[in-house]
Each structure stands twice: as structure tokens, then as C-alpha cells.
């Protein structure tokens, strides 16, 4: 089946083309069939490839499709790398992707036909790009998908392009991604000039020969790329704004798949990162800081999607923490589980928003549990998963990361734990405000409140199952030795000869049990506190006051800070260049030459006084001058 690998990205591409070109002619049903069908088909093929990879004799293979750039010393093929890591991501992308496509058929049904088709075209294009990203056998191919998903994200965030704020959000996302992309590109150039290739195989083979400085540089640049795409400090501010897009988009792109591209990339190139401990520290610290910062902001947000967005940023921070401490499997594991529960959360939020007629403020909700049973149930499961309570999936993945962090440095664990507590708090604050208590919306909203159609609830249900059970693929050794299926599966890719879990191996089992137990207990208490408190007490509408809580509500003023130190100075500089330097200095010089000629003309013409006498006088003086030069001046 892996010979058919090229079909996996091509099917969504075909869907994109069909829907995109036929957007004026196709009916919504046709669009839905094409949109969902192609991704589903891709999922099917992925699945079959997945089973292939399970067989013991499976070896990673590179499927070369064509030359992309082959000129001079640069050789970049279009080729796809099929190994366990990419196939795992294939499954997540196409699997979660098809669910979200299905969900969208209902969620977006109100759109006009061309817009509906446009939406699915974008979505298919996104899936295509994402697949290229994970399948690419080299950094350049990956970069193609990398930029492609950025583009789709841009297009989808600004899907409702009549709203200027959405467009700004879309633009912000694209530009921030571009900043990261520049780092990525520079890393690619560095590799090309240092190793002569940007294919994974070639780079990883030659990497050990390179000096630590080179590797640190390359990996840091790659990490810059990752911070852009995966919304880490300092480039995270676009992600909350990206919630302007339709909710399924947020679920697919800004939670489940695209934003994890950075994690995928680092996991993919872990060979390089392993050789660059400085970078690893940077990654871990950045991840941790992001996790805490985003979690703290999420504490005080009132927009249902904003909370989830900051939560995503925070979870991504965890994944980077995992990568930084060398727990690549843990990070990938968390990517997977996070894909499940975060997609579920977003879709659930979408369902709520759909029912509430595009109301997103949780202060205007409440008491939806009874009105929307399926949504409520699945949402609750997801909350439990993200809070990290056993036996839900989030527990296992988060635990794996935290254990590895502890092994690296206790501080990592301590702060990581703090973040986990905050996560539990804001998630259940969200849950309680939305589903518990009394309904606080308008009467009209109340009248129309209903459970979503099957196309929306089915994905919810499937994802709920996965959110619960997804974690069982990676049960830590303490609990059940040899049950870390995921670790075993990924071991050939993510760990060299050392074997997986080198970080975990340092902890003795007793410590682990104790830590697990305490953390679960604390989280449980936080959950209970948040649940009980926010089922009754609703935050006021009043704008944020001063102090810490105000600062949190205003998101630590990061946007304002960027505006002050980057945007505004740049804009001022540009105005200065355009208004002063360009006009008066550069153009002024050019025009000055012309003007000085004209000035010279005005002055020189005065010699032409019109009087013969003066003409002759000048002539004679010049004659005398000539004589002096000629007869007496000996150069």
C-alpha cells in the first residue's frame, strides 16, 4: 500500500481543485461528498499503510515522485517519507480531519453555496498541505507544506472576509508564521551549505560531523520556525486571534494539526536536537514559559474559543517542554491525545456556538447541560482529559512529559505541574460557566437552543471515545510494563540505539507513583473548586480592573507590547523613509542635480550680457590667460 502513498495528499488536493473550480456549479451535497470523501479516502489509505507499518519487517521508505529543484549544487526532490512517525501523523490528520470535515458539513450549512464550496476547498487544501508537511522527506518539502498550512490558516481565519477584524487576525497569523518561516528557511540554507542537502536522511547522516556551534545554530533557527507555527513565545499572539475563523477550522488547524507541525518538525529532526543541548534547554524553557503564560491568560478569558485557544498554546508549550527534555515520544503522544481532546473541545464549543447563534461569551451561557446532552457529555470528557485525570488520555501523555521533565530538572516539573493546575482550573471554569448553573442568554436564544444534528454529534462522539481511550496506547511502565505501545511503535524513528524512555529510566517507580498520586489529587481538588465555584458565581461584565487579574484579562499586554516595540516603530520608520528620506534625500539629490543644472544655466546666462564690450573684454582676458598658461606655466 505504501506505493499508493502519493494518493494520500493528492486526494485532498483533488478535492480542493474540484470544489474550488466548481464552486459556482456544485450543490452543497456534492461539495460535502467531495470534501469529506477525499479526506476519508485518504484516511482509509493511511490506515492500510499504518497496518503495513505494524509488520515487523517494515522499513521506512522514501517514495520519490519527481525532481523539484535540481540545479547546480542544490538537489531537492519531491519525495515522500513513509515511516512510523509520519504515518502516525497521517492517521491523526486524516482521521481527525475527516471527522471535522463531516462536522463542518452541518456547521457551515448556513453559508451560501459558493462560500460553502470555498470553505471545503480551503479545508481540503489544508489537509493536502499538512500531509505534504508530514510526508516530506526533506526540510524543503516539509517547508512547502509548512507554508501551505500557513496559507490555508490565513485563508480560513479570514474566511468571513467581510469582517475587517477577521482579516486582521488572518494577516497577523500569516505574518507571524512568516517570521518563523524565515528562521526555518535560514536553517535550511545553513544545512544546504553545510551538508549539501536538506533531505532528512542526508542531514542526519552528516550531522554528527558538524560542530556543536553549527548544530546549535541550525536547531535554534529551526526552533524559531517552530515557535511561529506552533505559537510559542514570542510568536504566540496570532493563535488566540485566529479564533476568528469558523470553529471547525479552529479545531482542525489551530488545535489538532497545524499548530503541532513544530512539534512534528522537532521530533523529526531530533537527531540534530539531541546533538545540541543548548537548543534543547532553550526549547524546554520556552515551552514551559509559554505553557505558564498562556495558561495564566486563559484563567481570565470569557470567550469560549479564546479560552480554548490559550489552552492550546499552553498545551503546545507542554509538548515543547517534552521535546526539550528529550521525551520525543511523550511529545508526539501528547500531540495525538491533544488532537483528540482539543478537537473535541473545539467542536463541542462549536456546537454550543452553533446552538447559541454565534454567541461566544461564556458569561451569556450556562445550564446547557440539559439542553445539549451529547455536547455536554463529550465536552465534559474532554475537559477531564485535558485536566490530566486518569484514566483519560491527557493524563498519560502529560504524565510522560512531566516525568521526563522531572528527570531533567525538578524545576521543570514544578512549573509544569503549576501549569497543569491552572489548566484544570480554567477548563472547569469554562465547563461550569457553560454547562452548569442557569441559562443566562436571551429568550430568543433560549427558544432556539437545541442539540446539534448528527453530522456534528457523531464526530463529537468518536472524538470523545478517542479522548478517553487514546491514552491507553501509552501506559507508563510503572502502571503496566510493556504497555507503551506508542513508544514501541515509534522507537525505530524517535530513539536511536539507546532505546526509549532514557529520561524516565532515572526515576524509581515509587517516586513516580507518589508524584502521580499527589498530582491527581491536587488536580481533582482544583477541578472540584472550579466546578463548584463557577456553577454559581459568574464573572462580572465590568472591564478588567488593575492588578494581576486585570493584567491577565488583558493578556499580559503582550499585543500592546509588540505594537509598541515592533509595529509602531516599524510603521514610523517606514513613514519616515517614505516621507523624508525618499522624498527629500534620495529624490531630492536626483532632482537637485537637475536643479543645479538649471541654476547653473541661470547664472551662466548672465555672462551673455548683450554688450559687445564685455564680450570682447572676456575674450581678451581669456587670451591673456591662455598666454600665461601656455608660455609661463610648465606643468
Amino acid at each position: 500500500m505504501s506505493r499508493l502513498i502519493y494518493l494520500v495528499p493528492l486526494l485532498p488536493l483533488a478535492g480542493f481543485l474540484l470544489n474550488g473550480l466548481g464552486r459556482k456549479r456544485l450543490s452543497k451535497t456534492a461539495v460535502s461528498v467531495i470534501g469529506v470523501g477525499t479526506v476519508l479516502a485518504a484516511f482509509g489509505i493511511s490506515l492500510s499503510i499504518f497496518f503495513e507499518t505494524l509488520s515487523p519487517g517494515f522499513a521506512p521508505q522514501t517514495v520519490r515522485i519527481a525532481d523539484f529543484i535540481d540545479t547546480g549544487r542544490v538537489k531537492i526532490p519531491f519525495s515522500l517519507l513513509v515511516d512510523r512517525l509520519s504515518v502516525l501523523f497521517l492517521l491523526v490528520i486524516t482521521g481527525v480531519g475527516s471527522l471535522i470535515h463531516l462536522y463542518s458539513t452541518a456547521y457551515m450549512h448556513e453559508e451560501s453555496e459558493p462560500d460553502f464550496a470555498r470553505y471545503f476547498a480551503y479545508l481540503n487544501l489544508f489537509v493536502f498541505s499538512m500531509l505534504v508537511l508530514v510526508l516530506g522527506s526533506g526540510f524543503v518539502t516539509m517547508f512547502i507544506g509548512w507554508e501551505g498550512v500557513g496559507l490555508c490558516s490565513y485563508l480560513l481565519i479570514g474566511f468571513w472576509f467581510r469582517n475587517p477584524a477577521y482579516n486582521d487576525a488572518a494577516k497577523k497569523a500569516f505574518v507571524m508564521n512568516r517570521i518563523g518561516d524565515l528562521g526555518f528557511l535560514m536553517a535550511v540554507f545553513w544545512m544546504l551549505s553545510r551538508f549539501g542537502t536538506a533531505e532528512f536522511a542526508g542531514v542526519f547522516e552528516k550531522a554528527p560531523e558538524a560542530t556543536a556551534a553549527v548544530l546549535t545554530g541550525i536547531t535554534l533557527l529551526l526552533f524559531v520556525g517552530a515557535t511561529g507555527k506552533s505559537a510559542q513565545i514570542p510568536l504566540f499572539t496570532w493563535l488566540p486571534d485566529a479564533m476568528a475563523g469558523p470553529t471547525p477550522v479552529s479545531a482542525l488547524i489551530h488545535a489538532a494539526t497545524m499548530v503541532t507541525a513544530g512539534i512534528y518538525m522537532i521530533a523529526r529532526s531530533h537527531v540534530l536536537f539531541d546533538l545540541a543541548p543548548v537548543t534543547q534547554t532553550v526549547v524546554a524553557v520556552t515551552g514551559l514559559a509559554t505553557a505558564l503564560l498562556a495558561a495564566s491568560i486563559a484563567l481570565r478569558q470569557n470567550d469560549i474559543k479564546k479560552v480554548l485557544a490559550y489552552s492550546t498554546v499552553s498545551q503546545l508549550g507542554y509538548m515543547f517542554l517534552g521535546l526539550g527534555v528529550g521525551a520525543y515520544t511523550g511529545a508526539v503522544f501528547h500531540v495525538m491525545t491533544h488532537a483528540f481532546f482539543k478537537a473535541l473541545l473545539f467542536l463541542g464549543a462549536g456546537s454550543v456556538i452553533h446552538a447559541m447563534h454565534h454567541e461566544q461569551d461564556i458569561r451569556r451561557m450556562g445550564g446547557l447541560a440539559k439542553r445539549m446532552p451529547v455536547t455536554h457529555a463529550t465536552f465534559l470528557l474532554a475537559c477531564l482529559a485535558i485536566a490530566g485525570l486518569p484514566p483519560f488520555s491527557g493524563f498519560f501523555s502529560k504524565d510522560e512529559i512531566l516525568m521526563a521533565a522531572l528527570a531533567k530538572h525538578p524545576a521543570y516539573y514544578a512549573f509544569g505541574m503549576l501549569g497543569a493546575l491552572m489548566t484544570a482550573f480554567y477548563m472547569f471554569r469554562l465547563y461550569a460557566l457553560t454547562f452548569r448553573g442557569a441559562f443566562r442568554g436571551t429568550a430568543e436564544q433560549s427558544a432556539h437552543l437545541h442539540e446539534s444534528p448528527w453530522a456534528m454529534t457523531l464526530p463529537l462522539a468518536v472524538l470523545a471515545v478517542l479522548s478517553v481511550a487514546g491514552g491507553w496506547l501509552g501506559i507508563p511502565e510503572v502502571i503496566l510494563p510493556g504497555a507503551h505501545r506508542l513508544g514501541d511503535y515509534l522507537a525505530p524513528v524517535l530513539s536511536g540505539e539507546d532505546g526509549e524512555g532514557m529520561a524516565v529510566a532515572h526515576l524509581d517507580h515509587a517516586t513516580e507513583w507518589i508524584l502521580m498520586g499527589t498530582s491527581t489529587a491536587i488536580i481533582l481538588s482544583v477541578v472540584a473548586f472550579a466546578w463548584s465555584r463557577f456553577s454559581r458565581q459568574v464573572p462580572s461584565d465590568a472591564p478588567a480592573g488593575g492588578g494581576l487579574s486585570g493584567l491577565l484579562e488583558r493578556k499580559w499586554l503582550v499585543d500592546e507590547l509588540y505594537d509598541a516595540i515592533v509595529s509602531r516603530p516599524l510603521r514610523a520608520l517606514s513613514r519616515f523613509l517614505s516621507g523624508v528620506v525618499e522624498r527629500y534625500i534620495i529624490d531630492g539629490l536626483v532632482n537637485g542635480v537637475g536643479r543645479s543644472v538649471q541654476y547653473g544655466a541661470r547664472q551662466l546666462r548672465l555672462l551673455q550680457s548683450g554688450q559687445v564690450g564685455s564680450y570682447l573684454l572676456i575674450m581678451v582676458f581669456c587670451m591673456v590667460l591662455f598666454f600665461i598658461v601656455q608660455m609661463f606655466w610648465k606643468p
Binding site: V597, L604, Q608, M619, C622, F626, F627, V629, Q630
Partner: protein, 457 residues
């Protein structure tokens, strides 16, 4: 020699034609016939057929180079006459007299094209100058014409005095007027001879209107009736340059090192003053006067370089400059208003005329595919070949850029501006001649070889 005789004779013929018939048309036709005959006569010189067998006692000599030059100048004069006789006829006065003077000027041109003796040079230049004084005065009631004539005359006579003093000092050293006798190399470098060379340089620079001896040019060209300005600014100036080059190459060529610096100064001053001052002008006619100074600056490069390229190049330059300038003046002479604004929107009313004018102006500006480009090319190439003072070539090129500025003002007025009321009445015949002139400009711009090969016999 045929050419000298014929032109002198035809001048007399023109005088008598004026007595015999008052019809201006007839005068015109006679003049055209005469000029055509002059071309033929010069051609016979080139072919070595000289029925009268007069030699100037060695004071005149005509090789192919000189003969070709005379043919070309007579050819230009023929075009000039074809374009101008109507305008002269409309002037009111009998045209025979000015036409006779033009033939006398041609005699002088033939003399200075072939002189081997300073005596002949002096005589030739006077034969050229005196009729020109008269032509510039020919619009008697017009104070501008008066002024032009007076200025031209006084300054011209003054420069004659200077020139004669130079000739005398050289004679004092060498005891001869012959160029061969002068050109004997370093031993000729006595103070007396040097002083003589400087004085000759000054007076010749005056004749070709090189700065800072150019002051007469704008005023005289401006004041003189336009038909005659056209003649003075083109054919006469070309011949003056030819004589200038001949004098300094054959007469003082071996002392090149010693006067090169002065020539460089003259060249640079002429280029700058001509080009820069032209920028300011509000009247096309006066702009063309300054442009003639600017073009003189380019021709001065030939004198600076003084090599084979310069020798052939100056003829090409004289021809291409003459053709283009004659063309522009032919239109200008038919317009009442000489300001730039008068040309506004001319392309709409007279598309062909505007196109032809554009060709001429492009040639003057030195744009490729016109004769003017190769003319300038030859001058720059000659300078660079000389290898020293390369900055002079660069300066010349930058001045060419300034030149584009004022020539294109006319093009801009014609094509890109509206208004203006210039309706020059141009007959079909004149148009045809203008087309021929423009074609000649283009032909020389595409294949200057044709001409240059003649010159390098």
C-alpha cells in the same frame, strides 16, 4: 578647384540673374541648379577631372578627403537651399543677392577646405565672413538683425586682427605661410611661434564659437533672419571646424603635446557653457544657438584628440549636425513664434512634420540609429583613443545628457502638450525634402560606414 571656380562664378551669375529678372522663384531655381552643379563639380574634383587645370601654387590642395568634404557640404547646402528659397522669396527683398552671397560663402568654404597656406586660410575665412556679416544684417528694419550684424562684424573683425597677428608671428619664426613649413616639430617651439599658435587658436576658436570666445554666437544666431542662421550655424560652422582641424593637424600637429591642455580647456568650457546655458532658453531659436555651441564642444574633442578617428569623425559630425539642424531650422523659419510653447500640440496638427522634427532632434541629442549618435561616437572614441584626459569624454557624455533635456523639450511640446498655434505652412515639396533629409540622418545613423569609407581613402 572646379568647386571654387564654379561657386564664385555662380555667385556672379546670381547677381546678374537678379538684374535680369525680378522673379524670386527663378532666383531660387537658379540657385538650386547652381548648388547641384557645385556638387557635381566637387565630384569631378574627386574624380580628378579638372578642366581648368589651375593649381593654387601649392597654396591649395584637394585630396579625396577634402573633396568629399566639399561634396558633403555642397550637398547640405543644396538641401538647405531646397528648404529655404521659398522662405527667402517670401521675405520680400529680391532673393538673388543673398543667394549670390551664399555662393560666395561656398567659395570661401572651398578655399578653407583645401588651404595649405595661412594666406589662403586668411583669405578664405574673410570670404566666408564678409558675406555672413551682410546676411545677418539683411533684415534691415529689424533692430535685432541690426544688432546681430554689428556684433558679428565688430567681433569678427577683431578676431581677424588677432588671427593676423598670429599668422605674422608664425611667419616671423618660419619665414613661410605653408603648413608644411610650420609643422616641423619641437624645434619650431620658439616663444614667437607659440604665441602665434595661441593667437591662431583664439581666433579659430572664435570662428567655431568655442567658449569662452563664443559670445557672439547666441546673439548673432538669434538676431539673424532664421533662414540665414540655418546656413551660418551648419555648413559654415562645419567648414570652420574643418579648417580648424586642418590647421592644427597639418600645421601644428607635431606640437600637439604643447597645446593640448588649452584645447582641453576650450572643449570643456564649450561643452559646459553650451549645454548648461541652453537649458534655460525660452526660445527654440536661441536654444538652437546654444545647442550649436554645445555641438561645437563635441567637435572640439576632435581637435583635442587629433587622430584618424577625429579626422573622419569631424566630417561625419559636421554632416550629421548640419542635416539635423537644417531640418529643424527649416520648420522654425516658417513659424512666427519661436518659443517652445509655439510647438505645443504640433504632433496633432502636423504629424509628419512633428515626426521629422523628432528625428532631427533625436539626432542632435545623439540617440542611436540617428547620424548624431555616430557623430558623437566618433568624437568620444577619438578622445578615448588618445588615452589621456578620459574625463573629457565622460564630461562630454554627461553634457549629452543635459543636451537631451533641452532637445526633448521640443519633442515634449509637440507630442505631450496641447495648445499652441504653430501652423508652419510647409509645401509638399518642402516636406519631401525634409523627408529626404531625415532619411539621410537615419541612413548615416544605421550605416555611417558608407560615409566614413569615402573619407578614409
Amino acid at each position: 578647384m572646379n568647386a571654387i571656380l564654379l561657386s564664385a562664378l555662380w555667385g556672379v551669375v546670381m547677381m546678374f540673374t537678379g538684374l535680369a529678372s525680378p522673379h524670386a522663384r527663378l532666383h531660387g531655381r537658379m540657385a538650386v541648379v547652381g548648388m547641384a552643379l557645385l556638387v557635381v563639380a566637387a565630384w569631378l574634383d574627386l574624380a580628378g577631372i579638372s578642366p581648368f587645370g589651375i593649381t593654387g601654387g601649392g597654396m591649395l590642395s584637394y585630396g579625396p578627403y577634402e573633396s568629399v568634404f566639399i561634396i558633403l557640404m555642397a550637398g547640405c547646402a543644396l538641401l538647405y537651399l531646397l528648404l529655404s528659397v521659398h522662405v527667402m522669396a517670401d521675405g520680400g527683398t529680391g532673393t538673388s543677392d543673398p543667394l549670390a552671397l551664399i555662393f560666395f560663402v561656398m567659395t570661401g568654404i572651398c578655399i578653407i577646405a583645401g588651404f595649405r597656406s595661412l594666406l589662403m586660410l586668411f583669405l578664405g575665412i574673410e570670404i566666408v565672413s564678409i558675406p555672413l556679416y551682410i546676411l545677418s544684417a539683411s533684415d534691415k528694419r529689424n533692430l535685432r538683425s541690426n544688432e546681430a550684424a554689428l556684433k558679428y562684424f565688430l567681433m569678427g573683425a577683431f578676431s581677424t586682427g588677432v588671427m593676423l597677428m598670429g599668422v605674422t608671428l608664425l611667419y616671423g619664426t618660419h619665414g613661410s605661410f605653408y603648413l608644411e613649413a610650420l609643422n616641423i616639430g619641437e624645434e619650431a617651439l620658439s616663444p614667437l611661434a607659440t604665441a602665434g599658435i595661441v593667437l591662431l587658436l583664439v581666433s579659430m576658436a572664435f570662428k567655431v564659437s568655442a567658449a569662452p570666445f563664443h559670445f557672439w554666437t547666441p546673439d548673432v544666431y538669434d538676431g539673424t533672419p532664421t533662414v540665414f542662421t540655418s546656413f551660418m550655424a551648419t555648413i559654415v560652422k562645419g567648414a570652420a571646424f574643418f579648417a580648424f582641424l586642418r590647421l592644427f593637424q597639418d600645421g601644428f600637429g607635431r606640437l600637439h603635446e604643447h597645446w593640448r591642455l588649452l584645447m582641453a580647456f576650450l572643449t570643456a568650457a564649450t561643452l559646459i557653457i553650451g549645454n548648461v546655458t541652453a537649458v534655460f532658453q525660452q526660445s527654440v531659436k536661441r536654444m538652437l544657438a546654444y545647442s550649436s555651441i554645445a555641438q561645437a564642444g563635441f567637435m572640439m574633442l576632435a581637435l583635442f584628440a587629433l587622430n584618424q578617428t577625429a579626422r573622419t569623425g569631424i566630417v561625419l559630425y559636421a554632416v550629421s549636425y548640419s542635416l539635423a539642424t537644417i531640418g529643424v531650422f527649416a520648420v522654425l523659419a516658417r513659424m512666427k513664434d519661436h518659443s517652445f510653447e509655439a510647438f505645443n500640440g504640433m504632433a496633432g496638427r502636423q504629424p509628419l512634420l512633428a515626426l521629422l522634427l523628432t528625428v532631427f532632434l533625436l539626432s542632435l541629442a545623439g540617440i542611436p540609429l540617428t547620424a548624431g549618435f555616430f557623430a558623437k561616437y566618433q568624437m568620444i572614441a577619438a578622445t578615448l583613443e588618445e588615452g589621456r584626459m578620459v574625463w573629457l569624454a565622460i564630461l562630454a557624455l554627461l553634457c549629452a545628457v543635459v543636451g537631451v533635456y533641452y532637445y526633448f523639450r521640443v519633442i515634449q511640446a509637440m507630442y505631450f502638450r496641447t495648445g499652441g498655434d504653430a501652423q508652419p505652412e510647409v509645401s509638399k515639396g518642402t516636406r519631401a525634402v525634409l523627408v529626404v533629409t531625415a532619411l539621410a540622418v537615419l541612413a548615416l545613423g544605421i550605416h555611417p560606414d558608407w560615409l566614413l569609407r569615402f573619407l578614409s581613402y
